[in-house]
């Protein structure tokens, strides 16, 4: 499992991430599963930091998800602890003992309540988390906390990821500049609603927890929940948003306050940026695929059609084979079960209309489509011709690399 995978051909560089007021980070080696790499991350937040979270809808979540859900309603956070290599999922009572012990130890170090500590774990399912090692490593991390540890933190939470993922956006609230920056990990078991995908975003904006929660829930719906690598949904997904209030903007009390618009847009952009980085690192991915669906009866219907296309193994293997196989796209539309009229369907690839009104466009020019299929970013578009509903989804192709990685994950 610890063997290095080749970096995804779709990787993007880690952006410059300067310190963010109210956030200090450190990564270290707890030796929980991996050897010779960081596997434990501590983030500490200034007092008065508010928090929001969105979690997996998997019905068998890990113990850290249970922990976060239990402490989230208070809306306050002082620390985040993330370990990689062991997901602490399906570990029974021992799993809850591990989360309790981790939170207690962190709280003692930071000087806060255990309920202000957030936890996340990613890695193998069904093995006990050796929390003694985690707890033993925490003091050194606390001592090493610094404002510039973002890339180290992004690397410390990786599992089968081949590159660290980060994003930064700027906005203003009532004229006061604020910044958002976040890190993410994830490369397989990525599907709505969430996946073994972890994303931690911090901002220096002053925003109360209920406002943060409304913004985050809406942003995740249009980003992470529109991406899929393999349709599998992890037991451990979490997106957390921390607001340290250090920027000193005027107070906002409602998420529909027009003064929030730039912040909302920046957050949505940042979440989509990180979500697409996860897809770019999809296990074995060689192409990033966007699916745009228009003309559906409703937006929700369009989104389901887009995800049916994005989840189809036959569509994804065709793209891996550089095959503009629009017939499989039609199949996927049909299997979605959503309202569709075969004889109104139009399909475009790379912006070139290749099928319309239920049949191939006669003598369409294949050359530009063939060229598009050889690229790294593939654009599929379907118009159902029924209404005004639109929706999007993103995925990657399905290649031998996916089989390689997932056929030997535990070995």
């Amino acid at each position: 499992m610890a063997k290095a995978l080749p970096i995804s051909p779709l990787a993007v560089p880690f952006p410059p991430m300067p310190p963010l007021s109210g956030v200090r980070l450190a990564a270290g080696e707890a030796g929980i599963r991996y050897k010779g790499r960081t596997d434990l991350v501590l983030m500490e937040f200034a007092p008065h930091t508010a928090v929001a979270g969105v979690f997996t809808r998997n019905r068998c979540p890990g113990a850290p998800i249970d922990w976060c859900r239990a402490v989230l309603p208070a809306g306050r956070a002082r620390a985040l602890v993330v370990n990689a290599g062991n997901a602490n999922v399906f570990t029974g009572r021992a799993g809850h003992e591990a989360t309790r012990a981790s939170a207690d130890a962190t709280a003692a170090l930071v000087g806060c309540a255990a309920e202000e500590v957030f936890l996340a774990s990613t890695g193998v399912i069904g093995e006990r988390l050796p929390h003694d090692r985690l707890v033993a490593a925490l003091p050194a991390l606390r001592a090493a906390l610094a404002g510039d540890g973002w890339e180290a933190a992004a690397r410390g939470i990786m599992t089968t990821d081949t590159f660290p993922k980060g994003a930064v956006r700027h906005a203003a609230i009532h004229g006061v500049p604020v910044r958002l920056q976040g890190i993410a990990k994830g490369s397989g078991m990525i599907a709505p609603d969430m996946a073994t995908m972890l994303c931690f975003v911090a901002t220096d904006a002053a925003l109360p927890a209920p406002v943060l929660q409304a913004l985050l829930s809406a942003g995740v719906a249009e980003s992470f929940n529109c991406t899929t690598v393999d349709s599998d949904t992890s037991t451990s997904d979490a997106v957390l948003l921390f607001a340290t209030a250090e920027a000193g903007n005027l107070s906002i009390t409602h998420d529909d306050d027009p003064a929030l618009l730039p912040f909302r847009e920046a957050l949505n952009e940042l979440l989509l940026d990180l979500a697409l980085q996860v897809v770019r690192d999809g296990e074995g991915a060689s192409r990033l695929v966007s699916v745009e669906v228009a003309g559906a009866e409703t937006d929700a219907s369009a989104r389901r059609v887009a995800l049916a296309i994005a989840n189809s193994p036959l569509v994804k293997t065709a793209i891996a084979g550089e095959d503009a196989n629009w017939g499989r796209i039609v199949m996927a539309v049909g299997k979605s079960g959503e309202p569709a009229d075969r004889d109104r369907l139009c399909v475009s690839i790379g912006g070139h209309r290749i099928a319309e009104n239920g049949a191939a466009v006669p003598q369409y020019d294949e050359a530009p489509v063939v060229a598009h299929m050889k690229g790294r970013e593939i654009a599929l578009a379907v118009d159902l011709g029924l209404g005004d509903g639109i929706g999007r989804a993103w995925t990657c192709d399905l290649t031998h690399g996916y089989i390689d990685i997932n056929g030997s994950y535990r070995s």
Copy 2:
């Protein structure tokens, strides 16, 4: 596409299939897409043959599905024409012209109404079916009709199949012996509800079309609709059941007649046999996987959980890698969205309990599980511990072979 694939390691021999009274068959080369192999099959049925059918639920079905649905309500059949290599799907008005021309030509040859001709096509989507070639090849097939053409017919309808599929069962109705025998094709795009899967069953029993339909619908629900190769659902799936009435059994008028019990059991067995042969020929399959779910709140819930496990790429790649990764099974249970309590879940592999009540069985003996994972037939079982609901599903593992086959299908 025409390159020969290696025969599935899970293949089973084609059974002896003697002539069945009232059925004659022939296969020939129409040259529709393939060269140097048979690609067209004609079956002719005795007068008074009744018919039942179950078709894909894909919302974008092929023209032959439209045709069959339109003529099925009359419940009478004299001929079946099946071509391989072109699915006649998403071909607009030309698709319907092709089905009309094919049915008319067949009816003229056989001496029946066009509405007594059933049609099926399988192969590439989105290309016009050159029905002139099909029609031109029919007279030679008609002249070659014989009672012993079952294996030739099973071979003539293959696409990416690596072995021909057939099954025979015997029963009695009111003491009169009857026989059922059928052929099937399919290896990818196999998922409930149906897939590029074609199955044609004939019996010499005398049964009216409404009774046949009730029996077939129930049998398909417990066989083909419990199997999945890749979760994709074809535009062309069809299961047709023809009853020639040549056996001369006493009339049956209701499908709940107790005298039908042996026939019903034989039909269900035959359908499951053929469905599992299709899974055994799943594209790239190296292992046949059965999933048994018990303890669900309802049977329907159990079936959805079983299918979520059977459709999980992470479960399927783990099996390809001989990895008894029960954590991924738990993940798949959770992602199904069905009622489940993590702390009551039990998981068995190969009959060995390896997780129970929410955690791994301490010090369970890995040796027999490791040995089971090296076999060709893998048995997964989950007990949800909630109720009495049970359900089953079958799938195959996900290997490099699937990518090979589907990444270059059209090339």
